[in-house]
């Protein structure tokens, strides 16, 4: 039956033609979940939060908590997209070339701008100039800890031990590594860094006494510290941390090492002022909710809800300090 053979073909051509027409008229109209950019007052559509880390990590959790709050405040949907890769550099590169209309924003972490550039090629280093900072969010401090059996109680005990200290870190080019390396150099302690791939293996190695001490984020260590399996030796913040009030800072123990991780909300460079103001307002209202405060508490995060200018200043200071200290002591993070 020739007719029935050609008829479907004609139908198919029609379908393809119609499809092409739809595609053409809808050119640029492909959506994922964000469909903002209308004429009305910002925001008219979804605001997409991208995360430069995989789901489940601190940056991801913070983004999700914040996105939920901001979405509620502005009455729009705020999908979170994970785009992990190269410590967030991949996501940063994508964000900086996005349209600066406030429909694509991201929580980014300080180490990407202060520590990563010290370990990677200049081409891969991300610059904060490519972004507008909207607000600071919170601080995630580092603690150096040892297992309960080791008998060490402070950095000085390590010095007295008189042997090469093997310390675990959460990886090369992380704040954990920088803080430990600086501490051991300034204290004149012989040491070897053993980098692990992230917090969990680092913690496991410390609990199994495979390394003498480890530096990690407080949230990763706090349960084992409270359970008595780990003994904290020092924190690397400016002042003591409310979650571990009895732990002395490195500075208190006589070693001028201050390394913290903090996160802030960014948008592509050139985002209109009124959009930024709206976002800042929504973020501030989110920070004030008890739900968000409880989230910070549970994850051992210290609020750092400061102005963009303060974020930029502390980024610049940190970069300069770290670089100077590394040069002074001849430390090469890339070991």
């Amino acid at each position: 039956m020739p007719t029935s053979r050609t008829a479907p073909r004609r139908i198919l051509l029609g379908v393809v033609g119609a499809a092409a027409a739809v595609a053409l008229t809808a050119c640029g109209g492909v959506k994922t979940t964000s469909s903002g950019g209308g004429d009305g007052e910002y925001p008219t559509g979804n605001i997409e939060f991208s995360v430069g880390a995989s789901a489940g990590g601190s940056t991801d959790l913070i983004t999700r908590a914040l996105a939920q709050g901001i979405g509620k405040e502005l009455g729009v949907s705020t999908p979170v997209l994970n785009k992990p890769g190269a410590n967030g550099a991949l996501n940063a590169k994508e964000l900086q070339s996005a349209k600066p209309d406030g429909y694509k924003i991201a929580v980014q972490n300080a180490s990407l701008f202060t520590i990563t550039p010290l370990t990677v090629s200049p081409a891969e280093a991300t610059k904060i100039d490519s972004f507008d900072v909207i607000t600071g969010i919170s601080r995630d401090d580092y603690v150096m800890a040892t297992s309960a059996q080791s008998g060490y109680k402070s950095i000085d005990d390590l010095k007295k031990a008189g042997k090469t200290i093997r310390y675990g870190t959460t990886g090369v080019g992380t704040g954990a590594q920088l803080a430990s390396a600086l501490t051991f150099k300034t204290a004149g302690i012989e040491s070897t860094a053993v980098p692990f791939d992230g917090g969990a293996p680092n913690l496991t190695a410390l609990l199994g006494n495979q390394v003498d001490v480890s530096t990690m984020q407080i949230g990763e260590a706090i349960e084992n510290i409270k359970g008595g399996k780990l003994v904290p030796l020092a924190v690397f913040s400016k002042e003591r941390i409310p979650f571990l009030p009895d732990v002395k800072t490195a500075k208190e123990q006589g070693y001028d090492v201050q390394v913290t991780q903090y996160r802030f909300l960014t948008a592509p460079k050139g985002t209109p002022e009124n959009v930024k103001a709206k976002l800042l307002d929504a973020a501030k209202k989110t920070f004030a909710t008890t739900e968000y405060k409880k989230f910070n508490e549970e994850n051992s995060l210290t609020p750092m809800e400061v102005s963009p200018q303060e974020v930029l200043t502390s980024l610049q200071n940190d970069s300069a300090t770290f670089k100077a200290q590394l040069d002074k002591y001849g430390i090469n993070l890339a070991g």
């Binding site: 479907p8 595609a23 979940t33």
Partner: protein, 181 residues
């Protein structure tokens, strides 16, 4: 020849020999369904490709710096693996001639090539025009021309499947796929 007092762990190892032969025989029979094997040239070609991978890895990792065994550089481990690949592939080039486990490419391999083109097409079009139309086209081409289904069932199944995907991915799982609707 069976000895019940023997510890159970020891038995399988001894019996492993004839069992292996039986398994190989079975596998050989199953192989009958496969197209004819492709002969020594393809065996050598495969081994040479593996060899090339090894050489590439060795050169690349040597350039990264090997360091010393006690203080390995970034290139030491990949270099060691590459050397193993080179050695084994060289052995394969020499001894693998007689193996019969390669398959000849036939006319039906063109189907695979056509399928591949649709996959690349989908990947290329996805960010431009969303997932619906490319998926529809891919389903249809696979059903009608690669799978030789009838016109009617091809159309019905492809539309049905894409609609189901839309419901599953977009509505139920709320996965942010690029899309038109």
């Amino acid at each position: 020849m069976s000895d019940p007092t023997q510890p159970p762990g020891a038995a399988p190892e001894q019996a492993g020999l004839d069992l292996q032969e039986e398994t190989e025989r079975l596998q050989a029979e199953l192989e009958e369904a496969r197209p004819p094997h492709a002969g020594p040239i393809s065996q050598i070609a495969a081994a040479v490709v593996a060899l090339a991978v090894g050489v590439f890895g060795a050169v690349g990792s040597y350039a990264l710096g090997l360091g010393r065994l006690t203080q390995p550089g970034p290139g030491l481990w990949p270099f060691a693996i590459s050397v193993v690949i080179i050695v084994l592939s060289a052995v394969l080039v020499v001894t693998g001639r007689g193996l019969q486990d390669t398959e000849r490419f036939s006319r039906s391999s063109l189907l695979t090539a056509a399928g591949l083109v649709t996959l690349v097409g989908l990947a290329a079009l996805l960010p431009v025009i969303g997932f619906e139309i490319p998926s529809l086209l891919l389903m249809f081409i696979w059903l009608r021309w690669l799978g030789k289904e009838s016109w009617r069932s091809s159309i019905v199944i492809s539309i049905g499947a894409v609609a189901a995907f839309y419901v599953l991915f977009v509505l139920l799982l709320q996965i942010p796929l690029p899309r038109l609707i």
